[in-house]
Symmetry: C2
Subunit: 340 residues, 2 copies
DNA sequence: CGTTTTTCTGTGAGCGTGCACAGAACGTGG
DNA sequence: CCACGTTCTGTGCACGCTCACAGAAAAACG
């Protein structure tokens, strides 16, 4: 394994210049795709680069240009949710893909405990990244506050009320929740409840608002329960509570597919059939929806596109383009399957 | 939103030095926790740092020290698997956690298509990262080859035969597969098959080998099917094929929980009961295992610890410590639930 | 063929830090 | 009070690159 520190000195721009019989300036220009490089020089440099095996030293470049060519993806979720919620993974992939195309790097900052919060804030001020995509920010999220304070270009996935002026990309949670609830009602349900989740986030509170919209005068506060997380466990606990409160309940809107899956398991155990006795609808159109028996009627949200779009917006901000609109709303789609 | 490029000049070590009436050298020493800094200087510097709001410029530091304080996590999987396979998320979290503790950053490199492969290799030679953790490397993976060639400190999660000398952390796939298969056999099954997956990876081929070990003379090649991915779809297709080949099959070892879940769905649709008519066991002990009806008997593998351990090993390598053992094997555990 | 414009090239300075070296301040023992 | 070791501090240089500027070469024009 040789001596560990023994990696040979890497070739620099000087070596290339010497090999190609030109100056560093010319090499630099060529590398950055600037005009005014003669064909002969270009050719010689290309050969020299191949010969000495040159690759750019990014630290040096970053220092000189004062940018890092990296964007942070900030995920503020407990680890369990990070694993369970497929949206986060999809957003990550979408963001990563878009950034790769622009030759930027994705740096993952996963905030599990609040203890991490200050460390991350520190990091963001360190010039490691040129911008940030913030996923699943809570209202009054300390990280979000820190970022607006630092003035780092950032885009939210979702639209927290506590950061109204920040650029964001999201979906119409309220409208979609209203629509899917109406679909549920259209199957003739009389006693409809909701298992809400994550009310400290815009997605959670908006979905509840949409449910309320759809229910109108039939809205019954006692048929709404809420939990901190979009998790299967929330669905299990929520459904149990709802059944205790109203055993004649015949419709449930779950704040996410994972929640719905948990609820369905409880219904099955209690001897109720879906959709016969109880109709149930979810939100996300994630893996969970297809794994349920019967498959879940839900709202499809384009999580990967949210990531892509957020990445695009950050890149614009970083390059000094002020976006024409403060936020972008991506379309959702109702997916009717067997569960309601 | 002011002018985009107008972020004020950041305070440097010079500003701190001036403010504290000492020289940059002293500030630098203090920052790096070196000895020989007087208490009075230390105090003055601390105050100055707070006053001018100084944070280290990492680009400069990286340039001077020739290290980046970042480690790459290389995931070579199609996007669908990245989302579906909970192991990857868990490894990511474990790695991230350990690196954070050591003040290193995680840079995610997700290779979806082979097109990315060369780009990533280029990146790794660019000095962006001091080391790498490689997840789910195939045999003769081009990235793995590139890394060994570059001489970048790297640790594999898993142990591809094509990179026998690289440090790795893994589990005893073969032994665990053998044990779980024996559990299945112990329930009195006579016609037992396997839905294998990812035979181009050590985990996949080892699990098949373990199955073979357990079956001994009863091993029947026709009762083994294999698919490229550890996915639910593989389980669905695999189970269909197995039923066609032998409709009296009464036991199945699925190469992962996701595969098992797909297989169970097919069994249910075909009117067979689990574990009554067919016993089924999986591998991973992921979310999937608990979501099945009945819950899945499987092998628990400590994915988060694999990530942690890999991170620890990379950090050692980066700091010039040659690990006493080339690889570390973490223990697995049989989890018996209702499915067999 | 001289002059202006355009294209191309080389050079110096600077980005913010770590590190090695030289030297200052401080105590200690003779 | 001098010599000496220890603790502490300041300075120059290097890291590898980009950028602005000035000057050379080539092209265009009258």
């Amino acid at each position: 394994m040789a001596t560990p520190r023994a990696r040979p000195r890497r070739a620099t721009i000087f070596d290339v210049a010497a090999e190609a019989n030109v100056s560093r300036g010319t090499v630099s220009r060529m590398l950055n795709g600037e005009p005014y490089v003669s064909d002969s020089a270009r050719e010689a440099i290309e050969k020299a680069i191949a010969k000495v095996g040159y690759v750019r030293n990014m630290a040096a470049r970053n220092l000189a240009t004062q940018r890092s060519k990296a964007i942070a993806l900030i995920v503020h979720e407990p680890h369990s949710v990070f694993l369970e919620d497929p949206n986060i993974g999809a957003i990550l992939l979408g963001t990563n893909e878009r950034l790769s195309e622009a030759d930027y790097q994705l740096v993952c900052l996963i905030i599990g405990s609040d203890r991490d919060s200050t460390r991350i804030a520190e990091y963001l001020r360190g010039g490691f990244v040129d911008g940030a995509v913030i996923v699943s920010a809570r209202e009054h999220d300390p990280i979000a506050d820190a970022i607006t304070h630092i003035g780092l270009p950032a885009v939210f996935v979702g639209h927290p009320e506590s950061a109204p002026d920040m650029p964001y990309v999201g979906i119409d949670n309220r409208g979609a929740a209203r629509d899917i609830t109406r679909e549920l009602l259209a199957t003739g349900r009389k006693r409809v409840g909701m298992i809400a989740a994550a009310l400290d986030r815009d997605s959670g509170s908006e979905r509840l608002a949409g449910f309320r919209d759809a229910m109108g005068d039939d809205f019954d506060e006692r048929l709404v329960v809420d939990f901190p997380l979009y998790s299967r466990t929330s669905g299990v606990e929520g459904m149990k509570t709802l059944l205790e409160r109203a055993d004649d309940i015949d419709g449930v809107f779950a704040a996410s597919d994972a929640v719905a899956a948990g609820a369905m398991d409880v219904l099955r155990e209690s001897g109720r059939s879906v959709p016969g006795d109880v109709g149930i609808v979810g939100f996300d159109d994630s893996d969970w929806a297809l794994r349920c028996q019967p498959q879940l009627s839900t709202v499809r949200q384009p999580a990967d596109l949210l990531g892509r779009e957020a990445a695009s917006m950050v890149l614009e901000l970083v390059n000094g383009v002020t976006p024409e609109t403060p936020g972008r709303i991506l379309p959702t789609e109702i997916k009717l399957r067997g569960s309601a």
